[in-house]
Amino acid sequence: MRRKILAAIIVAAITFAAIYQAQSQTTLTVGIFAGSNWNVPQGETYAIIDEVRKNFEAENPNVKIKYISGIKKEDYSEWLAEQFLDGSEPDVFFILADDFNMYASIGALMNLESFIAEDKNFSTDVYYPSAFNFGKYENISYALPAESNLTFMFVNKTLLAKEGIALPKNNWTWKDFLEICRKVTRDTDGDGIVNQFGYYDYSWQQAAISNGVKFFRDDGRTSYFADSRMEEAIKFLMELRSLNGNFEVTPKDFDVGRVAFRPFTFAQYRTYKPYPWKIKKYSSFEWDCVKMPAGSSGGNISAMDSLLVAISSRTRNKDLAWALLKKICYDKTTQQLILKKSQALPVRRDVITSVEAQEFFSWDSNETAAIATIDISSAMDKAIMPFKFKNYNSAMLYADTEIHKILTGIIPLNNALNKLQKEINAQLQH
């Protein structure tokens, strides 16, 4: 009899515990920084995450989503590391590209492969390969892209019109680029100082990428700086540089409309094109964006950066965290919201190609926006994914210094690239 009573009590306790468990709330924390990842001003910082929270909590009544607001992007990396050190890291968090490899390598991020394989409602096909693969470390997915950013070429239409040059087409080449630069680089006020320039801020990386150069092997163990296409790019840049003579182009020259071209990200375009930024910056001239000029051995290709979201490997609610991650990075509504609220591009192909998106890309209906004619979807398809292996930054810094020396003529080109490749390879072996 006593045993039966005991059994009944245990059963009751388990039932209550189960009911309590079912009714009790699970809290998921999200790590997010204020502002845009793309170094442009952003108004409604938390508009997207708030919408995600509202939708997710409506779908999962027992889940509460929390995030700490007010963490600036420059503080975010340290904040996240401190949370990890405290053991109180968020379940789902945005992760900066510089941090991704470090967290993936120390095992701080949840391996997503099994979720991807088992979730029937999830397909990687919706993503552009460059964006999806950006969340991989040693060929294993640890993060999903939330939004992407693509580099275009900013064109000062007013300047070109003044010089009687037609707006370049989206399939323009280095030759066209060089030709226009040669035409516009001159002294307009006759004081003997060149004060109108062809380009500003066009990097050797951008030139090389559009000439089909791949800097490193995917595993980051070997570099390809001695590639002949790299040499072509360097030679092209040297030619470009020689147009400016001894004059350095300053950001001010660009801002006041005395520079024809400057690489510009989509986020910058989205930020500065419409009101109110339109009247605050670059208001003295008409401008537009076209694709990057194609190298002789490459194409109109540019690099595409993506903002990643990952799950902590120590989260207690794996499935919920995965659902939330999907809500941010996969859910069509959220992605459409990104199209509207964020300056960057959504990562879903169907959102990019949707009618709303097309309308968005060509909001500037009073003028014939060149960007509206760019097939953004195919540009994203072709885009190059930036490298982010462990020694990438130091290798790139070294390469940048050395190539700068070549470009400025401190080192003769002859065999310099071969030497550079050897030295970088030696660095990468460690």
Binding site: S77, L85, G87
Partner: protein
């Protein structure tokens, strides 16, 4: 005993010291993590750490819990008597040791020495040398394997130490190395104590054995002395008895007879009366002699009726020797004299003893029969027997005792050994036989 407690104390000290070091290292890691967070260098620390660190609270509780569990398992290991349980506990100790090292980010492997200390504590010598060797090799490999599997997931001690400036880092690393070295010193000292203790214990056992042997020898000598004393006492008693009873009676008789000689002629009637008195005194003397002889008889014979005494004796013997003894009594004389009972008792006792001692028999059959004139006792065993019987002490005594009663004894080997004893019963036979011989 004093020495042994020294080893125990050293063992406790070793545990205490390791607990202290673990606590210090753990506190160092926890505090460093807190300081790193306060100094806002967490990102750089993570980069150099190469693994996700646990939070301070988790480090504290897991490490403390693991060490307490380690102490507990170690305690039961040392207390455990059953070998299988001990092996199981030892395995558990190794596993906990691995986890403990893992929680400490492999920054301190002195715990392995604790495991070895526990192992040595239970080391019993002999064939365990190989067990010990294998266990040590295993421990070594486990420690290294531990390193190998956790290598990618641990944060090296250097990563923590690197948070501090170069000078402080050098001091910290020096302290850590000192901790480790001191642990080795403690461990070696413990081993020395242990070995010394084991050696002393052996020495003590040897001394005890010597003492025991000495005591045994003295006991043996004392036993012989006691036997001799008992014999002397018995002899003295007999002498006293003879003096008191026979001497008294015979002296009285002699004196009485002297008086009779004197009075025989003068007063024959008085002499006759006197002679009657002398006869009574002689009879009383005989009774006294019998009484004193009675005191020499076996206890059973004194205590029990004769037949039961025989049964008791054989039962006791069969119980103690495991030999099966059966009785077959066809006839029995109820008025046996005490001396006859004694002889029968001794013959049976001796024969059974011989059957066991010389024939290694498992079964003995005793048959008692006869008529009013004599009693026949046959004792047959199923032992080895012997072709040519060598008359030993026992058989000789039996023969002598029987001959005192004018009995005979025969013995031969058949399927075992057979003893046949014949005792005449009444006075006629007694004298008849006597006159025959």
């Amino acid at each position: 005993m004093q020495k042994f407690s020294n080893v125990k104390e050293m063992h406790r000290l070793l545990y205490g010291y390791n607990g202290f070091v673990i606590f210090v290292l753990m506190a160092f890691m926890c505090l460093t993590q807190e300081r790193i967070n306060q100094a806002m260098t967490a990102r750089a620390f993570l980069e150099s750490a190469g693994a996700v660190p646990q939070s301070s609270v988790v480090i504290f509780f897991t490490t403390t819990a693991a060490f307490l569990l380690f102490i507990l398992v170690g305690h039961f290991y040392r207390k455990s008597q059953r070998r299988h349980v001990r092996y199981l506990l030892f395995a558990a100790e190794i596993v906990i040791c691995m986890f403990l090292m893992r929680f400490l980010n492999l920054s301190y492997d002195g715990v392995v020495l604790l495991v070895v200390a526990d192992l040595m504590y239970k080391y019993e010598g002999h064939r365990q040398e190989y067990t010990l060797l294998v266990a040590m090799i295993c421990l070594y490999f486990i420690a290294n394997y531990n390193m190998a599997i956790f290598q990618t997931k641990i944060i090296s001690f250097e990563a923590y130490a690197s948070y501090y400036n170069a000078d402080a880092k050098a001091v910290i690393l020096a302290i850590k190395n000192t901790f480790y070295s001191l642990n080795i010193v403690c461990f070696v000292f413990y081993l020395v104590l242990l070995v010394k203790n084991k050696h002393e214990e052996k020495e003590r056992i040897r001394l005890l054995n010597e003492k025991l042997e000495e005591a045994n020898q003295r006991l043996r000598a004392y036993a012989i002395e006691v036997a001799q004393m008992a014999e002397t006492r018995e002899r003295n008693r007999l002498a006293r008895e003879i003096h008191d009873t026979l001497g008294h009676a015979l002296t009285g008789i002699a004196a009485g007879l002297d008086a009779c000689i004197m009075t025989l002629e003068i007063a024959p009637e008085v002499t006759k009366q006197q002679l009657n008195k002398i006869r009574d005194a002689a009879k009383k003397g005989i009774t006294d002699v019998r009484r004193s002889v009675k005191k020499l008889r076996p206890d059973d014979l004194e205590r029990l009726p004769f037949q039961e005494a025989l049964m008791e004796m054989t039962r006791n013997y069969s119980e103690s020797s495991g030999m099966e003894i059966t009785f077959d009594i066809f006839s029995w004389s109820d008025n046996l004299r005490q001396d006859q009972e004694d002889v029968i008792y001794r013959v049976l006792q001796e024969s059974i003893t011989n059957a066991k001692r010389h024939g290694h028999a498992t079964k003995v059959k005793i048959t008692i029969g006869g008529n009013e004139k004599y009693l026949l006792i046959v004792i047959a065993d199923n032992g080895e027997g012997c072709d040519k019987v060598k008359q030993g002490f026992g058989l000789k005594h039996m023969r002598e005792r029987l001959e005192l009663l004018h009995g005979t004894i025969h013995y031969w080997s058949d399927e075992g050994f057979i003893v046949e004893a014949m005792i005449p019963l009444n006075g006629d036979a007694y004298y008849g036989k006597n006159s025959d011989s």
